[in-house]
Symmetry: D2
Subunit: 341 residues, 4 copies
């Protein structure tokens, strides 16, 4: 059985395992106040060309989302997000458990637009009962989105501009950021994100690390006391240096880019193969998640040998499913799958 | 200026004011543990033909909704509701502030169906990532709905049956219940509600009282410790007998029915008048809220003399607005409005 | 049976009932946006000599406490309070239900000191694990305290000064404020409270009104969006003018002072009588709550005729109990009790 | 510099690192639904002699505490704990952030007694205002306690009996459980914990693992839907098998006992040395945390070479500090410290 259903089926890339092993018996202070975290922050800020930003390391994506959102919002405020957004769909109400409503907007291929945000804000302000409604105070987007699509720099600039106009935080979930950075046609890079968001994160869990997300904070209001929030939300790892070691490694010798390139290369091969065989996609994208539409019979056959995620029914006999590549995907497995298509 | 924009523009019906005055200097225990509350409960249970139910009195609707929902759900559970539901739209996220997601379903004239609920539950259970999603555990409906429509007994029976099958609480918001009970064609009465819900409430604020909602609980799990919840959520009135006195009065000599009949009678006159003048309605209903579609020019003119609520734009030159009648509406004001149409 | 156990056993003072009756059938906008609320605010700000403050009207004390605290604190912050404070002891965890810890300090006759607050803040800041602990961000005191004692102006000034130094909000719960203002020896008046707190409230429920607390906000950060918070926490009364009418009446012709004077006059008589009969008090105070220590046998006898609250056991044969007077207490009842002592 | 300040200064024991490396490129399902987690559960249940229990793996202690408590309590309920308890002191209000009050009881050397719990419950139930107070519904203890002391089997039996009588959950925080199991004189072993608690956890973070806590649930009410809670609270590790691999290793060939024995052996040497040199302890215990009382001058000297945690001032010239040993402590470092004493 070969697993393509997600990008977190293996452990970590060898460089990281080596570093963890090499540093294993060193003694360091706990809770992220060690030299590895400090150096990892330094490397990330350099890559972001954003020396004034502040980096924190958390263990996972849901934890990061709920911590950032809790840190940002007052009780009556909510967060605008695509109705396909991870916080809206796949976090068991973690945002609501912090007391905040997700204000879902209809997505277009996983994305929302500056115009939608603007209109939602105006609708709120112009409603006579505005105080009886949740106040939009943050925009949450994912780059890449949950459907593997990407915001262009222009789209991100427009979103950021509207967020400034409407006094909203712009928060970018980068759980799969590496695969976006490496995608063909992408024009949003780390310095753009640092310049065009109040806070974003660089996903490690799905991009080469055992686990870990590096939160990069630009907004001063979010920097203040953020570590208290991490602790309260259960995200402060006792042996915090495990995160420092991993991100230091990922941001040394461009490892983060290299492992992402690997995944994208294989995704492109697979995408091309699907196309050649005449498969349509639920959504076109250039990142590491593919959503081909496949006849149920064919799926049953493929399912004997390959793991995929079920996405949604398309018609009576066809379904859209998800195949992922990752830093760990083996070229031979992709080849084999292509043969079996 | 004559106000038709809501059903809470006046104080309370004269019978209630008299009783409050007559009992004003009596000494009673606080927090709802007085004889007035006890007798009001007795009268309500008799009207509901449900001697095993338990009645509590709260001050307002949002407070009642958040208290009932907090009492019912575990942290990972959410409440299914129409996307027009009061808890979804007009309570500044009070449910989310309790930690719970409102799982919005598309409404049809303010209503949701047993079939929608069933499908939402199945979709949840059949999703491979079900534990990553909020678990549906309650259905919230309003009778009448926020659009003034009504569930039929058959619809309520079906909803209740699905709730039993899927182990969901069925919670009926009756903020305007009196106007539903009195509406033409309605076939859902208090004993039906007691038989076909786990908890519902009988609205006082909008139906003759200064304020107050009488929560009627059938489900044993909700009865347990409910007063702790009322206190914690800020809903335990020190002079609780104010609620007892009001509901005792409303349920004596059928006052609740009489004040509701008054409102419905005038609503029907006004509805008929709109119809005769050729106005369409955003939604057809038989209760005390009317949603006529009116040309903007005409609206501007009416607005000089009459208060109404803006509901939504219908086309470039027309808007749907809300006119309400209530226990307090004067026949002469309705007449005058009809003339001015 | 004559009730002395609390100061909320009757309805409202006659002047208020008259005004409610007189205005009952007027039509006003809902949710506190009416002329009565506006005028009541004006009168209160004048009495406070604090034209820049903002007044909101809520229904009850617990609701007010949880709304103010939720409006003020970020998730990792807590509120310093006496371990006898109402929020710590008697609100079923309403503050914790908002996500915040009450940081209890040992009381001295119901009070805490500026020095205690200062030390708590320093201890927090100097602890190496400070980020693992709840950050003090507000001080909550009651005037009068839950034991009927009062802060002097000097004590309040010191508390306020420390709060400025340590960037803490100072919040004064004035559920029984009238009885403090009227107490012998009191030197803290409304303008002092407005000058020496960030937010306080003027209790109506226990001081002549049917219900209602007038929150007076000085701090700009708390003024912002406060009405959203009131709505979310279930405290926005649909017929908000009921609160406006009551507070307008209480602040016309010094009614608030007069009803408070009445209670204090009778409390003083009763206090004097206890003293003359040789009873000691659990705590000495000058407000409307008396805590005499009485032999259990005598208590059993008194209990046949008079209601009182049990406070605590003092020794094998004696208990401290609470007798309250209020705006509604009848002089003849106090006389009778004095005779029976 | 040699660190004795905590038991989480190194990575993981070599056996674990090896297994992580050996399994690194295997593909497994995510979120704890893999074979490693299944086998780890099996081994743990066998060690606990409790086949009906259910095991879940979480990343850290605060996360585990908040998840278990949120899963167990209704909104009006709180958790009884020693005033030295980790949830009361060192989790930045994580329990309150779930909406629940920690009901602190005065500790005796870090422990609370069945008698204290019983009295707290009776006091609650007998209070006339019981519904205005947080209802005790759980007892939280740590084994070993935060002061390194241990509950005896008899004490635990009594606590469990009172919890049954009073319908309280008994929850045992075992963040350092290994060091308790290995301590001289300890008579509480894994099967005892499984028999005498509703839920407890076996700490990995401080006892040989990189991170991870194994929650063992006995109570059926807590088993239900627990994974939803883990996800919502941000504790569901994508690569959940990392936890399975670690605990499988720890519970193979008695590794958990061996690494604990190592720490206790060195702690005993150090304890003996302190004693011989005439140092008193803040509290006597037999586990891996030592709290010697040391003259400030001597401390300053030691501090140049050894890391320790500051605990509290004892008198003008003496402080109590904490020295920890762990699975990773080197015998030579302990020897050197002993020489320098």
């Amino acid at each position: 059985m070969i697993y393509f259903q997600s990008d977190y089926t293996e452990g970590a890339c060898p460089e990281i395992m080596e570093r963890l092993l090499a540093t294993n018996m060193e003694q360091t202070p706990g809770y992220g106040e060690d030299e590895y975290c400090r150096r990892a922050e330094e490397l990330i800020l350099k890559a972001c060309e954003s020396p004034e930003s502040k980096v924190h390391f958390l263990v996972g994506g849901t934890q990061t989302n709920m911590t950032v959102i809790a840190a940002a919002l007052r009780p009556h405020q909510g967060v605008l997000a695509a109705d396909t957004g991870h916080i809206q769909v796949h976090e068991t109400g973690a945002v609501e458990a912090q007391g905040h409503k997700v204000l879902a907007l209809p997505h277009a291929e996983g994305r929302i637009t500056a115009d939608q945000v603007k209109k939602a804000c105006l609708a709120h302000k112009e409603d006579a009962s505005f105080e009886h409604m949740v106040q939009p105070a943050m925009v949450y987007i994912s780059q890449p989105t949950e459907l593997g699509t990407l915001y262009t720099k222009k789209e991100l600039e427009e979103l950021y501009r509207v967020c400034r106009e409407e006094e909203l935080y712009l928060f970018v979930d980068g759980a799969r950021l590496g695969y976006g950075l490496a995608a063909e046609g992408n024009d949003v890079f780390l310095p753009d994100l640092a310049r065009l968001s109040d806070v974003f994160y660089i996903g490690g869990t799905k991009v080469g690390a055992l686990f870990g997300e590096a939160v990069v904070i630009q907004h001063p209001g979010l920097k203040k006391d953020f570590r208290y929030l991490i602790k309260q939300k259960g995200g402060m790892l006792a042996k915090g240096r495990l995160l420092g070691v991993q991100f230091e490694t990922l941001f040394t010798d461009e490892l983060y880019r290299k492992v992402s390139d690997h995944a994208i290369g294989l995704a492109n091969e697979l995408r091309e193969a699907f196309r050649k065989k005449g498969y349509a996609f639920l959504v076109e994208n250039t990142t590491n998640q593919l959503f081909p539409i496949i006849a149920d019979e064919k799926l049953a056959e493929l399912g004997k040998k390959y793991g995929y995620s079920y996405q949604q029914r398309v018609d009576e006999n066809h379904s859209a499913v998800r195949f992922c590549t990752s830093w760990a995907t083996k070229a031979e497995n992709v080849k084999q799958l292509i043969q079996d298509l």
